[in-house]
């Protein structure tokens, strides 16, 4: 265990491998995404400069409007890094909005009591999925698919119609603005950034983070080294469930209602953000910072479409698909080069 917790700059790493590392093989996809974001941003700046695109608030809005997606994508990053996949994200988000709206509006519970309950349900769902995946060796894809059905069904069991939230504590929280000098962030955006910071710390500076990478890199080796990869896998899905529930809470704040069809297909947005952020879908390689850029790129596409006015919303889907394709091909080229 202690061997794997060593930092990458272990004394026995040869100079050649150092040179390769300096060339930035693994960081290339992240840099490419960051560059893409920058290019898109600058291009939009020049195109929409008369419409106030240059205001810092437009940039801040990227976080305000996509905070929930960022949180969900961070959870998915853990799963994908460990070599798995989680398709239940969108459903858990939808369920959380429904669950929260129902408890707050119909049952009259205070929001502060509902939040831990919602998070616990999400984490428990993730834990159960991880437990089944690990203990019964069923493919993550199919287990989380069952999770997708289950949570979406539970949404509909709570209510077929959407529940709008008029509770003062929720609306107060949703409208709260945290001033940052040149602009403001919503509470959702702040929470998203906090989750990001925690995820960054956990993935890159803790034992658990190393185990996630090790399990995704080569499960067999991780097992032979004595890593508790079963526990890691279960923990990863629990994390993802927790993040999805948190994303659901942020989404509830953002949209102030619960609807059984909220966040349909958001798992794909989250997976797309992770992939565009340069995390290898086979697991074991990637950075949570890449996920941020992935979310930002997707958010920027939406913003551009809003600014463009004439473009219709389906272009978002097409653009996401094209970007996804481009980055998958880039990944493919990179891994092929790594092997040779």
């Amino acid at each position: 265990m202690s061997t794997t917790t060593q930092s990458p700059s272990a004394p026995n790493s040869r100079t050649t491998s150092k040179a390769v590392r300096l060339l930035g093989d693994r960081r290339m996809p992240v840099l490419a995404t960051a560059l893409l974001f920058l290019v898109m941003y600058i291009a939009s700046l020049s195109r929409y400069q008369n419409y106030g695109f240059a205001e810092p608030q437009v940039f801040m809005n990227l976080f305000i409007d996509n905070g929930y997606l960022l949180v969900a994508a961070v959870g998915v990053t853990f799963v994908i890094l460990s070599g798995g996949i989680d398709l239940s994200v969108g459903s858990v988000i939808g369920f959380t909005t429904m669950f929260t709206a129902w408890l707050v509006e119909r049952q009259g519970l205070p929001l502060l009591a509902v939040i831990p309950m919602a998070l616990a349900v999400g984490a428990l769902g993730g834990f159960l999925m991880g437990y089944v995946i690990h203990n019964f060796e069923i493919q993550p894809f199919i287990v989380t698919l069952a999770g997708l059905f289950l949570f979406r069904g539970l949404c509909l069991v709570i209510s077929k119609e959407s529940i709008s939230i008029g509770d003062s504590s929720v609306t107060g929280m949703a409208q709260a603005q945290v001033s940052l000098g040149m602009g403001f962030l919503s509470i959702g955006a702040i929470v998203a950034l906090a989750v990001l910071a925690v995820a960054f710390y956990v993935l890159h500076y803790t034992r658990f983070g190393r185990r996630v990478y090790a399990t995704g890199g080569n499960e067999q080796s991780a097992m032979l080294m004595g890593l508790p990869q079963g526990g890691t896998k279960i923990a990863v899905y629990t994390t993802s469930g927790f993040c999805s529930a948190l994303a659901g809470l942020l989404f509830t704040l953002y949209i102030q209602s619960g609807d059984p069809l909220h966040a349909t297909g958001m798992e794909l947005d989250a997976i797309a953000a992770v992939v565009i952020g340069g995390t290898l879908l086979t697991g074991g390689s990637g950075y949570v910072l890449g996920t941020v850029f992935g979310v930002l790129v997707l958010g920027l596409i939406k913003t551009i479409i809003q600014f463009e006015g004439t473009l219709s919303s389906w272009w978002t889907k097409i653009a996401t698909g094209v970007l996804l394709c481009a980055f998958i091909l880039i990944q493919r080229a990179m891994t092929a080069r790594n092997k040779t």
Binding site: F136, E137, I142, F149, G153, L268, L281, S312, G321
Partner: protein, 369 residues
């Protein structure tokens, strides 16, 4: 000896469980709707619950049959729903542009156009999976995400409604007193079974699924087979898309074929095809698709609120997958069952001693049969 071996052949037949589940599901309906099995003739059309199960299940059967072959090669195709939406959108928008929407040539051309688009999508998936070596779940994710956008682009974000008699026939029409879609499904299933079980094609697909590299080394063009299988799957999805849009006489880029990929995968799994690839059963898939459609119908007829539909499906997925997992069987039913189904012998030690005798007894028998 002969009776016992015959009994074993029956109990070990791969269709036993899917068919048993289907029969039980059908029987569950009887107390709630006593005339569930009755089929009556009205205006020269057959009506009845059984007929409507097949009618509404037709698109699912088609998609699931295509999916079976993809899964047999060790892949998966998430894009079928989007492909169905694109096909329906193209066909409907072409027909709606015609002066005479009921002209047969126009309808045939529209269908051809839609199916061509579907095959192109399938070739693209196959290209990404086979030639670029991208994981199937990811490669097909691209069209799953972008495809719905394309479908909406084709219909311009609207739901295009059409009024075309010949086009109505595929998904909602009747022929020889039976829903026309049954014939389409029958032809597709018959052709697929003939191609895969009467020629070596099925064997090649299975060999690619169990070990693509090994089959390449023995001279099977595994790349070509994979691409072909994805194109075939997309073609099936395209036909299903035509059926869905024909049944409602409308193309809805957003909702046509929504979640059908998940239902199709579920049907394949219930039918006993392993998600790991290497073997498949078309018959099982057809039964699996019927199970899902029957489940949906049952939920409607017995008066359970329809919204719990998805919870039931989730329960079915979990139960079926657990039963298929050698590790689960080993843990729950003891070492005997685990040993028989080829588990790695890592059943809990506590359970092992009691069943050791039974396990050793069972093993040689398996050799004989």
């Amino acid at each position: 000896m002969t009776t016992s071996s015959r009994w074993r052949a029956l109990t070990h037949h791969h269709l036993l469980w899917p068919v048993a589940v289907l029969v039980i599901l059908l029987l569950v309906n009887v107390p709630f709707t006593p005339d569930f099995f009755s089929v009556r003739m009205t205006d020269g059309h057959l009506y009845g619950s059984l007929v409507s199960i097949v009618l509404f299940g037709s698109p699912l059967i088609l998609v699931a049959v295509g999916m079976t072959l993809v899964i047999a090669t060790g892949g998966i195709d998430l894009s079928v729903g989007a492909v169905a939406a694109i096909t329906g959108a193209l066909a409907c928008s072409y027909i709606s542009d015609q002066a005479d929407q009921s002209a047969l040539s126009g309808v045939l051309l529209a269908m051809g156009l839609g199916l061509l688009a579907a095959v192109v999508c399938g070739l693209w998936n196959g290209f990404l999976v086979a030639r670029m070596g991208i994981q199937p779940i990811i490669a097909t994710l691209i069209i799953m995400v972008a495809g719905r956008g394309v479908a909406q682009l084709i219909t311009n974000g609207q739901i295009i409604t059409i009024n075309s008699e010949p086009y109505k026939l595929i998904g909602g029409g009747y022929w020889l007193a039976l829903p026309f879609s049954i014939f389409v499904v029958a032809v597709v299933v018959a052709v697929t079974v003939a191609l895969t079980r009467r020629t070596a094609l099925g064997l090649l697909v299975e060999s690619v699924g169990s070990n693509a590299e090994a089959s390449r080394l023995v001279g099977i063009r595994s790349l070509r087979i994979k691409i072909m299988v994805y194109a075939f799957c997309a073609l099936c999805a395209g036909i299903a898309g035509l059926m869905i849009s024909s049944n409602t006489s409308a193309a809805d880029g957003n909702n046509a074929g929504l979640w059908i990929e998940l239902d199709a995968i579920l049907a394949v799994v219930i039918g006993g095809t392993s998600l790991l690839g290497g073997r498949f059963s078309i018959g099982g898939t057809v039964v699996g698709a019927l199970v899902i459609q029957t489940l949906t119908t049952t939920i409607y007829t017995i008066g359970v609120p329809t919204q719990t539909n998805l919870v039931f499906k989730a329960a079915v997925v979990i139960v079926v997958c657990l039963l298929q997992s050698p590790k689960f069987r080993a843990k729950v039913f003891g070492a005997k069952f685990g040993a028989r189904s080829g588990a790695k012998g890592n059943a809990k030690p506590a359970a092992a001693p009691a069943d050791t005798a039974a396990a050793t007894e069972a093993a040689p028998k398996m050799e004989v049969s």
